[in-house]
């Protein structure tokens, strides 16, 4: 089925941000169904059956994450929604929360019921303060209509829901840094284990889920986990919000069935409609800035010549040698005029800026890489610098508390892997490189 929508179906209905319109269009059915006719464990079971995987980037099975939640007697449990959307290229959660805030509120209530949480939080990045107000309005309406507060639907379940802002720190999208921030501290990630499922917010068992993941719980409970699992391909079930940006005719947020071909997503009339200004595709970062970049000849086809699909598995096919990742769904397109060296420097500057400074490989390594890349980009580098980047990379990767170090290292490694000729050209053609961009790279002869 084409253009099926589970999350954004009603997004264009005027007034959908209000309780009355949302409710008239079938809103809050999942809460009624869960609280009136399902036990919490049965809700968890549906989510397991659905095959839903975390939509924030890691793709960990949500039902499994939920089943890890410790349930010691007499200690509260918390559900925390990660709305700290800050991965460059990703703006899907913002769209969902702004346009249809009750969907997230509804998902939070149903998910909190499943987990046995009586207090839940939505942690939203501080820059989205206007959305915090939209969400608080939706939450107030849900309280007024008996979907939040004491004794919800007369079934004895209590839930309070609050929104908490961050203050502008990418690292707080990492779940343990988010919890630190939610406790009113600097966003320094914690050492795992213990995982949040055992010791999370204020030391209590906590589940942290992305906005889209929690919203997906609504159709899963309404229609059943099996119906959700029937959509998609293989272990990539359901629909996914993709935020497309960069040099596209029609950038924006799209809800797709997982398994759609990348070709159709980029060029199809229902999606991005091709590369802007009639230019050619040079490269694509398919899952937010942290995932490996793909050169044009590996975007729509895998190295084996199969069609590349928008799914966790297909985008990763070829692993680091010739694949990438679905990540958060931040789909960034580069046209033929873009400079890979400049872009790699730009992303590295981002990670250097956003490193919390706790682990020295990341704190020092990202800053070092940024300086070396700047040197190359401005025509002051030498060939040795390219290998130096690879060396620094290896010293960051795997040597930090949280994945920010890896997220900073991988894009640099991938850019050098696929665009080494362009990096070398910046060294050998110092003056020319300052005046024009390298253009498309040639497809290597494949063995």
């Amino acid at each position: 089925m084409k253009n099926r929508k589970l999350l954004l179906e009603n997004v264009h209905i005027p007034g959908i941000e209000t309780y009355d319109v949302y409710r008239k269009n079938g809103g809050y059915r999942s809460v009624e169904k869960a609280i009136k006719s399902l036990t919490p464990d049965e809700v968890v079971e549906e989510v397991k059956k659905s095959g839903l995987r975390g939509r924030g980037g890691a793709g960990f099975p949500t039902g499994m994450k939920w089943s890890f939640l410790a349930k010691p007697e007499g200690i509260p449990r918390y559900l925390v929604c990660n709305a700290d959307e800050s991965e460059p290229g990703t703006f899907k959660d913002r769209y969902l929360m702004e346009k249809i805030p009750h969907l997230l509120v509804e998902g939070m209530i149903t998910a909190s019921y499943a987990l046995g949480a009586n207090t839940s939080y939505i942690y939203i990045r501080g820059e989205f303060m206007y959305i915090l107000h939209i969400l608080e309005k939706a939450i107030a309406e849900a309280y007024d209509n008996g979907f939040l507060g004491k004794n919800i639907l007369g079934k004895g379940y209590d839930l309070d829901l609050f929104v908490v802002p961050g203050g502008g720190a990418y690292i707080c999208g990492e779940e343990t840094a988010l919890l630190e921030s939610l406790e009113g501290k600097r966003g320094n990630p914690r050492i795992k284990p213990p995982f949040p499922a055992v010791k999370g917010l204020w030391g209590a068992p906590t589940v942290v889920n992305n906005v889209e993941t929690i919203a997906a719980v609504v159709p899963i409970v309404n229609d059943g986990g099996e119906a959700y699992a029937a959509i998609g391909i293989g272990r990539s079930t359901g629909t996914k919000l993709i935020s497309a940006c960069g040099n596209l005719v029609k950038p924006g947020v799209y809800e797709i069935d997982l398994g759609l071909s990348v070709e159709e997503f980029i060029y199809g009339d229902d999606y991005c409609q091709g590369i802007a200004n009639n230019k050619k595709l040079k490269a694509c970062v398919p899952g937010g800035s942290s995932v490996p970049i793909l050169p044009h000849y590996l975007v729509t086809k895998t190295a084996n010549g199969d069609d590349r699909l928008m799914s966790y598995e297909s985008l990763a096919e070829g692993a680091f040698a010739s694949g990438s990742m679905l990540g958060s769904g931040g789909f960034i397109i580069f046209d033929e005029d873009q400079c890979i060296v400049r872009n790699t420097w730009n992303f590295t500057r981002f990670y250097a800026h956003e490193s919390c400074g706790q682990c020295s490989p990341c704190r020092e390594g990202t800053g070092w890489m940024e300086k070396v890349l700047y040197r190359l980009e401005t025509g002051n580098g030498n060939l040795r610098d390219i290998d130096l980047l690879a060396e620094i990379n290896k010293k960051i990767e795997g040597n930090t508390i949280c994945p920010l170090g890896d997220a900073a290292a991988w894009p640099v490694a991938a850019a050098i892997r696929h665009f080494r000729d362009e990096f070398e050209w910046h060294v050998s053609h110092k003056e020319e490189a300052q005046k024009r961009n390298y253009g498309l790279s040639k497809e290597p002869m494949l063995a």
Partner: protein, 180 residues
């Protein structure tokens, strides 16, 4: 930094200390109730947003007042305020243009937009105009990549920027058509 822990009526002290409006103090009290007893420190980031909105930036006095209100050490507020980049711990202009400089914005011309604003206001990135009206800052990804280039001023997003739009925007802020 001396131990500034205060045991007396906190809300009142904070009000006298820095002159936060009654509305802000009421909001402080409301936010504190979002968290379990003993965990009120969680309110800190939102309180700092409110304090910054009211004072214009986070002066030491404003941060001390937040510490007093939460009954925590002042250093606990300073370390949070200096970690999160949205907080201005130095004085800024009346309108702070925070322009996104990260990849997706750069792909569609944010470098040129930053240069243009800089030229137009006759200040470098990080500086404030002589009349104290505008500060220009660059920031990392604002999460609006599909509507790039983008800038934020107080909590408003201004998207799909062009040079003409920048002209209009500066005029609108200067003349007060867009209120902060």
């Amino acid at each position: 930094m001396p131990n500034m822990k205060r045991e007396n009526n906190i809300a009142q002290t904070a009000a006298e200390f820095n002159g936060f409006s009654k509305e802000t103090i009421a909001k402080f009290n409301e936010i504190k109730n979002h968290f379990p007893a003993g965990k009120e420190k969680s309110a800190i980031i939102r309180m700092l947003h409110l304090a910054q909105t009211e004072v214009g930036w986070l002066s030491t006095e404003a941060m001390d007042a937040v510490a007093a209100f939460l009954n925590i050490q002042t250093i606990e507020v300073y370390e949070v305020a200096t970690f999160y980049t949205m907080f201005h711990v130095n004085p800024v202009g009346k309108h702070v243009f925070e322009v996104c400089r990260t990849g997706p914005c750069m792909l569609v011309g944010s470098d040129q937009i930053i240069d243009y604003i800089s030229e137009k206001l006759n200040i470098k990135v990080g500086e404030t105009t002589a009349d104290g009206e505008f500060t220009l800052k660059t920031v990392e990804c604002l999460g609006a990549c599909g509507y790039a280039p983008v800038l934020q001023c107080k909590y408003k997003f201004h998207e799909n920027l062009t040079k003409d739009k920048v002209d209009e925007l500066i005029e609108a802020y200067r003349s007060g058509i867009i209120e902060n």
